[in-house]
Amino acid sequence: MIIRIARKEFTEMIRDGRFRLAGAIVFALLVVALLTGLKRYVDVSRQHAVALQTQRDLWLGQGAKNPHSAAHYGYYAFKPKLALSALDQGLDPYLGVSLFLEAHKQNTANYRPVEEATPVQRFGELTAAATLQGLIPLLIVLLAYAAFAGEREQRTLRQLLSLGVDRKDLALGKALGVAAPLLVLLIPAAAIGGTAMALHSGAQSITMDLPRLAVMIAVYVMYFAVFIGLALIVSALAPSSRLALVVLLGFWFFNCLVAARIASDAAKAWRPAPSAIQFNREIAKEAKGHGEWDDQVKAVKTRLMAHHNVTDVKLLPVNPEAVALDEGERRDALIYEKHFNRLNDIYQSQSRVYQAGAIFAPLLAVQTLSMGLSGTDFAQHRHFNEAAEQYRRTLVNTLNQEIVAQGNSELIWDFKGDRSLWEKIAPFSYTAPGLDWALGNHTPSLALLLLWLVVVAVVTPLIVARVKID
C-alpha cells in the first residue's frame, strides 16, 4: 500500500510541469555548482603543490646568512584543502589562506578570498552545499504543500480515506512520493559530480575522503527527511493549500535566510571577540621581541654569571645575547599561544552557540556539519594554524640553538649558517585529522539534527492520523 501511494504521488509529481521546470533548474544549478567547485579545488590543489615546492626551494636557496636573519626571512605555510571542499566552501572564503611563520611572533592567516570578491558575493556563493541546503528544501515545499490540503480541497481525501488506507501508511507513502522525484534529480547529479571528480583528481582523493562523504550524505538525507516531514505536517494542519504554501515558504525564508544571521548575532553577543586592534595591543603589552633588548640581555647576563659563579662575562660558556634570543623566543611563543587560544576558544564557543540555533532552524545543524566534514570549518582552520605554529617554533628554535652553539663568541651575529643548516629543518607538511575529530566538533549539530528527525518521524504519523477530512 505504501508503495502504491508513493508511486501514485511520484507519477503525479513527475507529470507536473511546474515540478519538471523547477527540478530541471535545480538540477542544472547543482551540476554547475559541483563542476565549478571541483575546478576550484583542482586549481587550488595544483597551486598548493607548486607553492610548497617553491617555498622549500626559496628556503634552501636563501644563501649563507645569520640564522637569525633566516628566522626573520621565515617560511610561508599554505592551508591545504580536502577534496570535499569542492562541495562546501564553508568558512574558507572568510579565513586567510597563507600564514607567515617568522621569528618572534605568531601571525594570523592572511589573504581572505572574500577581500578580493565583488559585493555580489554577499548574496551567497553557488556551491553544491548551498543548493542542497537552500534549493532542495524549496523543491520539497513545492512537492508537498498540497499533499493533504490539496486533496482536501479537491475532495479526494475523503475518498482516499474511505478506502480504508492506514493513516501511517498514508503518511509514509506521501513522504516517499515526495522523496522519489528528489532522488531522480540527486542521483544523476551525484553521478556526474563523482565521475568528474574521479577523472580530474584520480580516484585516490575520493577514497581518502569516503567516510566523510558517507556521513555527509547521511546528514543531507536526514535534513531532507526533516523537511519532508515538516511539509506534510503543515499540509495536514493547514485549512487551505494556499495557507500551507505561505507557511512553508515563510519557514523556508526563516530557515535559510534569517536564522543564520540571528544565530551569529546571538553567538557574538554571548561570547564577544576582541577587535583586531585590541587583540594586538594586548599581545604587545606582554610580548617583547627585540624590544627592551638591552634589559633582556642584562638580566640573562646577571643570572648566568650567578649560576656559573663567575665575575666576568667572558668566562661564561655561552654568549648571553644568544641565550636571551633563545629564551625570549620561547617566552613570547607562550604569550602568543595564550592569547591565540583565548581568541580561538571564543570563536569555537561562538560556533557552539550558532549550532544551538539549530533548535529553531535545522539548516544551522546541516550547514555546520557539512562544513565540518568538508574541512572548511573553524576547527579545521585552527588545527592547521596550530600545526603551523608548532612548525614555526621548531624552525626558529633550531636556528636559535645554532647561534647558542657558537659558544661565548662575540661574533655570533656575524656567524653565517648555510644550506646544511637550512636542510636540518624538515619541510612543512600537514594532514587534516580524521572523521571522528571532525564530527566531535559538531556534536550539538548532530544531536539537534537527530532530534529534529525523531520528532518529525513521531509527529508526522500522529498529525496525519488526525487529519481533518473537510
Partner: protein, 490 residues
C-alpha cells in the same frame, strides 16, 4: 473614483488583523536591523578611539625617550650624533614604533548598512616601508558572521521587504474572484484596471509609509548620529531607492495577478521570481565573475614576493648605488662620486628603503594583474547587475550609505597618497642621516580622510536607479494592460 477605492481598501486592510501582525513584524525587523547597524557603527567608532589612544601612547613614549636623550646630551655637553638605532633614528619611527594609522571613519549612513565594511579593514598602520607590508587586512569580524551575513537595514530592504509586498498582493484580484465579489464590483461601472491600481496604491501607501516611518523612528531612538556631511541628501536618496525597489515588486505582483490564475499559483510564481531575483541570479553572476576573471592566486603572489625579497637581499649594497642613481636628490654631494659609499653600505635603514623600492617595483606587474582582474570582475558584475533588481538595489544601498566599494577605493587612494607623504618625510632623513628631534614628533604627517562628495554618489547611482524605474514602468504597464484580457469569470 480611484481615491474611493483606495479609501475602501485602506479600511479593509486596517480592519484585517493579519495586516497589523505583518506591520508589527516589519517594525520589529527594522528595529532589530537598526539596532545591529548602530552597534556596528559604534564598534567602528570605538576602534578609531582605540587607534588614537594607541598612537598617543606610543608617540608620548617615543617623545619622552627622545627628550631624555637630548637632555642627557646637553647635561654632558656632548653633541648629539646620528644614532645607530633608537627613538631618534628616523627608521625607528617611520618603519617601526612610530607607524601611524590611516583610518576610515564610519560611513555617513553607517547604521543603515554594514555593507562591505565588515570585510575591508578600516585602518592601516602606515610605514615608510613598502605598501604591501602594511596593506594586509586583519580580521575585523568573526568568520561565522561573515558567512551568515549581517542583519542590517539593507538586508531587510533587499530580502524581507519584497516578501511583505508579495504577501500583501499575491491575491490582489484572485481573492475577489474566488470570493465572487469581483463580478459584483465590476457591475458598478468600475474598470478592473482602476480597482487594481486602487488596491496597489492603498497597499503601497501602507508599506512605503511604514518602511520610512519605522526607519526614521528607529534611527532617532537608537541615537544614531547622522550629522556628518551629506547625511541628509544621502538619506533622501535612500528613501527614493527604497520606494523605487518597492514599486518594482508591486509592479511584478500586478503583472503576475493579471494572468488570472489562482492565489496559490500566483504565490508560487511570485516565490519563483523572488528566488530567481534575490538568490539564484546573484549567485550565478558571482560565479560568472569569478570563473571568467579569476583573481591570480595569492599563494603565487606570496611566493613571487619572497623570491624578489631574496633577490634584493642578495644584491645587498649594490642596491644602494642603483637607488642613488634613481634618487640623485638623496645622494649627498660628497657621495655622488661613489654612490654606495661607506656611509651607506652598512646602514640597514638605507638598505631596507632601497630594497623595498626594488621589490615594490618588481612586484608592480603582478599587482597590476591582480588589479586588472579585479576590475574586470567589477565591470562584469556592474554590467550583469542589470539582470537582477536585487543586485542593483544592493549596489544602490551600499553606495548611498557609503558602505560599498567606491567609498573604500576613495579611501585607499588617500592611503596611497598618505603613504607617499610619509615616505617623503622619512626617506631624506634616513639618507641624509638626520636624526629626529623631540619637536618632530608633533609635526609628522597625519592622515585626514576627506569624505566623498554627494554629487559623485548621485552620478553613480543614477543609472542603476533609472534601470529599476524603467523596469518597473515596463512591467507595471504590461501588467495593467493585461487586465484587459482578465478572465473575470471562470
Amino acid at each position: 473614483m480611484l481615491t474611493r477605492i483606495i479609501k475602501h481598501e485602506w479600511r479593509n486592510l486596517t480592519a484585517d488583523r493579519t495586516a497589523w501582525v505583518v506591520l508589527l513584524l516589519f517594525a520589529l525587523v527594522i528595529g532589530y536591523a537598526l539596532f545591529k547597524g548602530q552597534a556596528w557603527a559604534r564598534h567602528q567608532q570605538s576602534a578609531l578611539a582605540q587607534m588614537e589612544q594607541d598612537e598617543q601612547e606610543r608617540y608620548g613614549e617615543i617623545r619622552k625617550l627622545i627628550v631624555e636623550e637630548e637632555r642627557k646630551a646637553t647635561a654632558e655637553g656632548k653633541p648629539l650624533t646620528y644614532p645607530a638605532w633608537g627613538p631618534r633614528h628616523p627608521a625607528y619611527v617611520g618603519i617601526w614604533r612610530g607607524q601611524r594609522y590611516a583610518a576610515l571613519p564610519p560611513a555617513p549612513l553607517a547604521p543603515l548598512a554594514v555593507g562591505q565594511s565588515d570585510i575591508y579593514p578600516n585602518h592601516f598602520k602606515v610605514s615608510a616601508g613598502m605598501k604591501e607590508s602594511f596593506l594586509i587586512a586583519q580580521e575585523t569580524e568573526s568568520p561565522f558572521k561573515l558567512l551568515a551575513g549581517q542583519f542590517d537595514l539593507a538586508f531587510v530592504i533587499i530580502y524581507f521587504y519584497p516578501l511583505l509586498i508579495l504577501a500583501l498582493t499575491f491575491n490582489l484580484v484572485s481573492s475577489e474572484k474566488e470570493d465572487g465579489t469581483l463580478q459584483m464590483l465590476l457591475s458598478n461601472r468600475l474598470r478592473l484596471r482602476n480597482i487594481v491600481l486602487g488596491k496597489v496604491a492603498a497597499r503601497a501607501l501602507i508599506i512605503f509609509l511604514s518602511a520610512i516611518a519605522f526607519s526614521f523612528a528607529g534611527l532617532t531612538l537608537s541615537g544614531a548620529g547622522l550629522e556628518s556631511d551629506g547625511a541628509i541628501p544621502r538619506l533622501l536618496l535612500w528613501v527614493c531607492a527604497v520606494t523605487v525597489y518597492g514599486a518594482f515588486w508591486f509592479a511584478l505582483s500586478v503583472a503576475i495577478n493579471a494572468l488570472g490564475k489562482s492565489a496559490a499559483t500566483n504565490a508560487l510564481a511570485l516565490a519563483a521570481c523572488y528566488l530567481a531575483i534575490v538568490v539564484v541570479i546573484p549567485s550565478l553572476v558571482n560565479l560568472g565573475a569569478t570563473t571568467l576573471y579569476p583573481v591570480p592566486s595569492r599563494i603565487e603572489f606570496v611566493n613571487a614576493m619572497r623570491a624578489e625579497t631574496q633577490e634584493a637581499n642578495r644584491r645587498g649594497s649594490q642596491l644602494l648605488g642603483k637607488y642613488f642613481e634613481d634618487h640623485p636628490e638623496l645622494a649627498k654631494p660628497e657621495d655622488t662620486k661613489s654612490p654606495f659609499s661607506k656611509t651607506g653600505e652598512d646602514d640597514f635603514a638605507m638598505l631596507s628603503m632601497a630594497k623595498d623600492e626594488l621589490v615594490a617595483r618588481q612586484m608592480k606587474p603582478l599587482l597590476e594583474r591582480f588589479d586588472a582582474q579585479l576590475s574586470h570582475q567589477h565591470q562584469l558584475v556592474n554590467r550583469f547587475r542589470y539582470l537582477s533588481p536585487a543586485i542593483l538595489m544592493q549596489s544602490l544601498l551600499y553606495d548611498i550609505t557609503g558602505a560599498g566599494v567606491e567609498r573604500y577605493q576613495h579611501f585607499l587612494r588617500q592611503v596611497d597618497e598618505y603613504h607617499q607623504s610619509w615616505r617623503r618625510y622619512f626617506s631624506p632623513r634616513i639618507f641624509e642621516k638626520r636624526a629626529l628631534v623631540s619637536d618632530d614628533m608633533a609635526n609628522l604627517p597625519q592622515f585626514q580622510f576627506a569624505e566623498e562628495g554627494v554629487s559623485a554618489v548621485i552620478r553613480r547611482v543614477s543609472w542603476p536607479g533609472l534601470a529599476i524605474v524603467s523596469l518597473t514602468t515596463l512591467i507595471g504597464y504590461a501588467g495593467l494592460r493585461g487586465y484587459r484580457r482578465f478572465p473575470v469569470v471562470g
